[in-house]
């Protein structure tokens, strides 16, 4: 079975600071990887995704993530955060084969607070 770990539960940054949120997964096969964002009071929205190809993927609002297969990691980055980035961020993994391919497994989330 696949699992996802997000080790940072709450991150507090000042505006213009750089951001990196960690995500590690456990699964031996090929995976699709996602980052979702949940703004206060809203539903989850896709930030970016990795299926194959270039391991550095760019998403909306200046976010990017790098897939490092050897480290089973898919860390989210942004060079300069804004107050409007305050939200909860979820990493998710979907195995490409076997029965677990039907399921998307989420990490426990990282709450990002950006101070103006």
């Amino acid at each position: 079975a696949q699992s996802v770990s997000q080790h940072n539960h709450h991150v507090i940054l000042s505006e213009a600071a750089s951001l990196e949120l960690g995500c590690n997964y456990s699964y031996g096969g090929t995976v699709n990887l996602f980052w979702y964002v949940q703004y206060p009071g809203q539903h989850l929205q896709l930030l970016l995704k990795y299926f194959s190809g270039d391991p550095l993927v760019k998403g909306i609002k200046g976010f990017e993530a790098e897939f490092i297969k050897s480290k089973f990691s898919f860390n989210l980055r942004k060079p300069s955060v804004q107050w409007s980035d305050t939200a909860e961020y979820f990493c998710a993994v979907n195995a490409k084969s076997s029965g677990s391919a039907r399921q998307l497994t989420f990490g426990s989330g990282t709450q990002l607070t950006v101070l103006p």
């Binding site: 997000q6 979702y36 896709l46 995704k49 979820f90 039907r102 399921q103 998307l104 497994t105």
Partner: protein, 113 residues
């Protein structure tokens, strides 16, 4: 397109009552999911469906039931509500296995007193 629509948005139940959370999608997606979200716990999969007439348990199915009579609808039923079922419930859908992103509904906040 409306995407994924959930009703109701808010509901308060008494212990032992039952109710159904409705979920409908208009994107002709085969796969549909129910998650619950608890603070600090992320999203836990309750049930999912890969097509009409097919459902399967997720990580936390106890106390819930689902049905999938049509491609569009995937209701979640709570029988004998318990305080432990106080949570925010999200319905989601996607086109198929290993394909594409999940599209989420706006959530249903349920409180059991």
């Amino acid at each position: 397109n409306a995407g994924v629509t959930q009703t109701p948005k808010f509901r308060i139940l008494k212990i032992g009552q039952s109710m159904t959370l409705q979920c409908a999608q208009d994107m002709n997606h085969n796969y549909m999911y129910w998650y619950r979200q608890d603070p600090g716990m992320g999203l836990k999969l309750i049930y999912y469906s890969v097509g009409a007439g097919i459902t399967d348990k997720g990580e936390v199915p106890n106390g819930y039931n689902v049905s999938r009579s049509t491609t569009e609808d995937f209701p979640l039923r709570l029988e004998l509500a318990a305080p432990s079922q106080t949570s925010v419930y999200f319905c989601a859908s996607r086109k198929g296995q290993g394909v594409g992103e999940l599209f989420f509904g706006e959530g249903s906040r349920l409180t059991v007193l």
